[in-house]
C-alpha cells in the first residue's frame, strides 16, 4: 500500500473545538512545566498528577462524545477533504476528469481515476475547500445539477471499463439555488440514484464528514457504505429539522440526538456497513492515519466483492436497500 503524507495540518495549528478547550488548557500547563527544566521532586509530582488528570479528562471528553459534538468534529474546517484523501490513496496516479459535457464543470464534485493496490478505481467526491478561497471554488461542497451529471458520466465510464467506484461524501446538501431548480436538481439526483443501482461494478461510499439528504444520495448508492467514526449521515440537517419540528434552529442539538445520525446508530440500523476509526479527537489530528484507515477498509471491501458477477453485485445492492424500512402489516 503506497501512501504519501498528505499536506496535513500541523498539530499546533489545529483549531480546538469548544468542548476540547479544558483539555487544551491542561495540556498547555503540562507543556509549560515540562519545559521549565526544573527537576525538583515537587514539579515532577505535580507533572505526574496533571498528566493523570489530563488522561482522565481525555477519556471524559472523547470517550462519550454526544451526537452534536461528533457533528462538530465532522464539520471541522480542517477535516481531511476528498482531494486530500485521493492524493494520499494514490500519490502517483490521479487523472482528474472534468465536466458534464454539456456546459459546466461543477467543482463542488471532483472525480477521476486513481490507482489503488494496482487497480484503477473511479473516485467521485463532494469537495470542501481548505479556507474561504477554496471553499468558494468548491461552493462549500454543495453541488448543482451539473455536478451530479458529471458524476453520472464518470460512473458510466467506470461501468464501461469495469472499474470499481469509490465515492467520498462530505456535503451539507445540494445547493438550494434558483438555477439548481431550473436545471432540474431533483431529476439529476434521482437519475444518479437509479443509475447507480444499475451499475455492474462494486460501489463503495465513504461518508467522510457530514452527509445530508439527497445531495449525499446523488453519489451515495453503494454496495457498502462506510462511515468515518465521527461522520454523520442524515435526512435533513439537525438545524433544518429543528427549525421545522421545534420551530427554532436553536434546538439543533436535540434534533441531532433525535435523528440518530451517527455512524454508530446507522450501523445498528444496518445502513452503515463498517465504521472507519479516526485518531482521537478526529481525522484532522492525523490525516495520514485517517487515510490509512480508509485504505484498509477499501481494501477489505474490494476483497469482499472480488469475484462477484455484475448480476450478483446488482442484487446485493438491491437487497441492501430493499431491506431498509420499519413498518407493521395487519
Amino acid at each position: 500500500m503506497m501512501m504519501s503524507t498528505p499536506s496535513a495540518v500541523s498539530p499546533e495549528k489545529i483549531q480546538p473545538l469548544d468542548f476540547e478547550k479544558p483539555l487544551i488548557a491542561l495540556q498547555k500547563q503540562i507543556e509549560f512545566l515540562a519545559n521549565a527544566q526544573n527537576n525538583s521532586e515537587g514539579i515532577t509530582n505535580q507533572l505526574q498528577t496533571l498528566q493523570q488528570q489530563a488522561e482522565a479528562l481525555r477519556q471524559q471528553v472523547y470517550g462519550n462524545l454526544l451526537p452534536a459534538q461528533r457533528l462538530q468534529i465532522a464539520r471541522h474546517p480542517q477535516r481531511p477533504n476528498a482531494l486530500e484523501v485521493i492524493q494520499a490513496l494514490s500519490p502517483d496516479c490521479w487523472i482528474e476528469l472534468h465536466g458534464d459535457r454539456a456546459g459546466a464543470d461543477d467543482r463542488a464534485i471532483v472525480g477521476g481515476i486513481i490507482e489503488f493496490e494496482g487497480q484503477p478505481i473511479m473516485v467521485v467526491g463532494t469537495q470542501k475547500g481548505r479556507g474561504m478561497k477554496e471553499n468558494l471554488v468548491h461552493n462549500f461542497g454543495m453541488a448543482n445539477p451539473e455536478g451530479y451529471r458529471k458524476a453520472l458520466r464518470l460512473f458510466e465510464h467506470a461501468n464501461k471499463f469495469n472499474m470499481p467506484i469509490l465515492t467520498l461524501i462530505d456535503t451539507p446538501g445540494a445547493y438550494p439555488g434558483i438555477e439548481g431548480e431550473q436545471h432540474a436538481i431533483g431529476h439529476a439526483i434521482a437519475l444518479n440514484i437509479r443509475e447507480m443501482a444499475r451499475m455492474n461494478v462494486p460501489i463503495f461510499s465513504v461518508v467522510m464528514g457530514e452527509a445530508s439528504s439527497g445531495g449525499a444520495l446523488g453519489i451515495g448508492v453503494a454496495n457498502h457504505i462506510y462511515m468515518l467514526e465521527h461522520a454523520q449521515y442524515t435526512v435533513i440537517s439537525p438545524e433544518g429539522c429543528a427549525s421545522i419540528l421545534w420551530r427554532s434552529a436553536s434546538f439543533a442539538t436535540q434534533a441531532a440526538e433525535a435523528l440518530k445520525i451517527t455512524a454508530q446508530d446507522l450501523t445498528t440500523f444496518g445502513i452503515c456497513d463498517a465504521i472507519i476509526p479516526e485518531p482521537q479527537g478526529g481525522g484532522h489530528y492525523d490525516t495520514q492515519a485517517t487515510v490509512e484507515a480508509i485504505a484498509k477498509q477499501l481494501k477489505a471491501g474490494l476483497e469482499t466483492f472480488k469475484g462477484y458477477t455484475a448480476e450478483a453485485l446488482k442484487n446485493q445492492r438491491y437487497d441492501k436497500y430493499r431491506s431498509i424500512g420499519a413498518f407493521t402489516e395487519i
Binding site: A174, Y175, P176, G177, I178, G180, E181, Q182, H183, A184, I185, G186, H187, I189, A190, L191, I193, R194, E195, A197, R198, S213, G214, L217, G218, V221, Y233, T234, V235, I236, G240, C241, I244, L245, W246, R247, F251, Q254, A255, A258, L259, K260, I261, L266, F269, I271, R317, Y318, Y321, R322, I324, G325, A326, F327, T328, E329, I330
Partner: protein, 329 residues
C-alpha cells in the same frame, strides 16, 4: 356546458344564498351553509360543494385545482381498482420525539385523515387497460415519505414487473418523513432501485406530479417517469421556496416552481388540467402497449395464485383486440 355557461346558470341561486346570509341567518343555517357550499381559495366564489365534486374538485369559475385525496383521485382515474397492502402502517424506529412523540403524530394523522399512511397502492384499469398505481395523499402528514410510503411504492413497482404492466405514481408530498430519519432517506434508493428494474424490463413508468411535490419525492421516483405529467397549478421542486430565498437573499418570481415554469425549464412533458388526465393516460397506455406488445396479465395473475378480477379479464380481451382495431382506422 362551458364553464361560463355553468357559472351563468349558478350565479343567481348563489347570490340568493349570499343575500340570505347577509340578512343574518342563525348559526345552524350557517353550519348547513358551510356543509353545502365551498368558497374558492383562488377566486373567492361560493360554489355548491356538489357541483365542485362533479367538476373533479376544480373550480368551474377560475379553474383552481383543489387538492384531492388518494381515493378520490383513484375514483376519478380508474374504472376498477384493487388495493394492495392496505394494512401497512408506520412504526417508530428512532423512538422519535420532538414537541410530540412520533407515535402520537401517527395516531393523530391516521384519525384525521382516515388513512393508514400517505400512499394508496393497487392494481387498476384505466380505459380498460391495467396499470399498477401508487397514489400519494397530502392529507396524511403532508404526504411525507417514510418507510411505509417507500415500501408500498417499491412493492407496487415490483408487482408491475411481476404482472408485466405499466406503473403510474401520483405524487403529493412535502418531502421526507423527518421522524423516521435515515429510514426515510433510504426509501429514495429503494424505490429508485425498483424503478431501475422496471426500466430494464422495458415497462412504461408514468408520473403525475400534483400540488405540492417537493424534496425527496422530486429527487427519486417523482421525476423518473418515462413521461412526466404535471397537473395544472401544481408546485414542484426540490428545495422549498423559503429555503432558496434565504440562501440567495433574493425574491423569487411568482411562477417559480409551478407546473408551467417546470415545463419551460424542460422538466415535465405535459401540463394537464385534471379533466384531461384520464383520457391522456388512457391514450399513453394504448400508444405504449401497441409498441411494446406486452401484457400477459391474466396469466401473471394465475401464476401468482390470485383470482383474476373481471375488470382485468375484460381489459385483456380489449387489449388483444386493439392492434386489429388500430388497423381499421
Amino acid at each position: 356546458m362551458s364553464l361560463k355557461d355553468w357559472f351563468a346558470q349558478r350565479k343567481e341561486s348563489n347570490q340568493a344564498e349570499k343575500q340570505l346570509d347577509a340578512d343574518g341567518m342563525n348559526r345552524i343555517a350557517d353550519e348547513q351553509y358551510a356543509k353545502l357550499w365551498h368558497q374558492c381559495f383562488s377566486c373567492n366564489t361560493n360554489l355548491p360543494k356538489k357541483d365542485l365534486e362533479e367538476n373533479l374538485h376544480v373550480c368551474p369559475v377560475c379553474g383552481y385545482h383543489n387538492r384531492i385525496g388518494a381515493y378520490q383521485r383513484i375514483a376519478q382515474l380508474t374504472d376498477a381498482f384493487v388495493e394492495w397492502d392496505a394494512g401497512m402502517a408506520a412504526t417508530d424506529p428512532l423512538v422519535f420525539t420532538d414537541t410530540e412523540p412520533y407515535v402520537k403524530r401517527v395516531a393523530d394523522a391516521q384519525r384525521k385523515s382516515k388513512l393508514k399512511d400517505a400512499v394508496i397502492t393497487g392494481l387498476g384499469t384505466i380505459n380498460e387497460q391495467p396499470i399498477a398505481l401508487a397514489v400519494m395523499d397530502f392529507a396524511y402528514m403532508g404526504g411525507s415519505m417514510g418507510s411505509v410510503v417507500g415500501e408500498k411504492i417499491t412493492r407496487a413497482i415490483e408487482q408491475g414487473i411481476a404482472l408485466n404492466v405499466p406503473v403510474l405514481v401520483i405524487t403529493a408530498s412535502g418531502g421526507a418523513r423527518m421522524q423516521e430519519g435515515m429510514f426515510s432517506l433510504m426509501q429514495m434508493v429503494k424505490t429508485s432501485a425498483a424503478l431501475a428494474r422496471l426500466h430494464d424490463a422495458g415497462l412504461l413508468y408514468l408520473t403525475l406530479l400534483t400540488e405540492p411535490t417537493f424534496g425527496g419525492v422530486t429527487a427519486s421516483y417523482g421525476t423518473l417517469g418515462d413521461i412526466i405529467i404535471a397537473e395544472e397549478g401544481a408546485r414542484i421542486g426540490f428545495a422549498g421556496r423559503r429555503v432558496i430565498e434565504q440562501t440567495i437573499h433574493q425574491k423569487l418570481p411568482a411562477d417559480f416552481q409551478t407546473a408551467g415554469y417546470l415545463q419551460k425549464y424542460g422538466q415535465v412533458d405535459r401540463v394537464l388540467k385534471r379533466s384531461e388526465i384520464k383520457a391522456e393516460i388512457g391514450t399513453l397506455l394504448r400508444l405504449h402497449h401497441t409498441s411494446s406488445g406486452k401484457l400477459p396479465l391474466a396469466q401473471a395473475y394465475q401464476q401468482l395464485n390470485l383470482t383474476v378480477p373481471d375488470a382485468v379479464l375484460q381489459a385483456e380481451i380489449a387489449l388483444h383486440k386493439q392492434p386489429a382495431m388500430a388497423h381499421n382506422h
